[in-house]
Symmetry: C2
Subunit: 140 residues, 2 copies
């Protein structure tokens, strides 16, 4: 096939379509997490709603994970290979740069275990650091 991304989609039980291949490609090319508006803009003139539903499908199937970085818009980034829809393994830290407003994944930095009273059942952990990223720091 002309699109190597097809296998990726099929492996996640996602029917490959032209739109989905494009969205996946865009996500793979970017180092930072993308918002819905970002993807829409990078794709040129794609329909916002379709992109929205595409990302929702990707999220449900465990291909991407949502990042709430406090910028107002939810951002999306590709999951690690081991992620499943039921159990996201994206337990890494996200960094939101207040200067360039980019959110990046820091897979190398794991979230430490949080000691909680046993009555709490934790399903998801989100750790977002805000500050100035390495690139913006070096520029300034």
């Amino acid at each position: 096939m002309a699109h190597p991304q097809e296998d990726t989609l099929i492996a996640k039980q996602i029917t490959p379509t032209a739109m989905r291949l494009l969205v996946l490609e865009v996500l793979q090319q970017q180092s930072a997490a993308l918002s819905l508006a970002d993807v829409e803009q990078l794709l040129g003139h794609a329909d916002r709603i379709t992109v929205h539903r595409t990302l929702k499908t990707f999220t449900d199937k465990g291909l991407v994970h949502r990042i709430e970085d406090g910028s107002g818009a939810v951002k999306f980034a590709l999951c690690e290979p081991g992620c499943t829809p039921e159990h996201h393994q994206d337990l890494h830290v996200h960094f939101f740069c207040t200067q360039c407003r980019e959110t990046s994944c820091l897979p190398a930095v794991a979230i430490p275990a949080i000691p909680l009273p046993s009555a709490f059942q934790v399903q998801e952990t989100s750790l977002v650091l805000k500050g100035v990223c390495a690139r913006c720091t070096s520029i300034a």
Copy 2:
């Protein structure tokens, strides 16, 4: 004065007004963090915008801190006494219950230090756990 909250406001350089005293009182009475809509509803028929600006003022002055729990609406909770506008010390964990949709502060649980490349300048840390809280667990 009739309102013991007045001193609290004055200590934070906030001019005490009737509205602000009411908002502060509501925040003190609740154990969970409150969204703008929550405060509005608890106050009866207060103007949404005024509450919004009141909470913004409180945030700017270091009296409350914002919590982005992913519920779509920002929530607010009182700061620890040592907080200043420049340097919020609310480095505790927040827990968002997916069942009752309440967000609570867990001051007893500190955020562990995150090892980061030195090029990153961290200004703020946000750690939100999602799951089922102790109360909802015991009910179910």
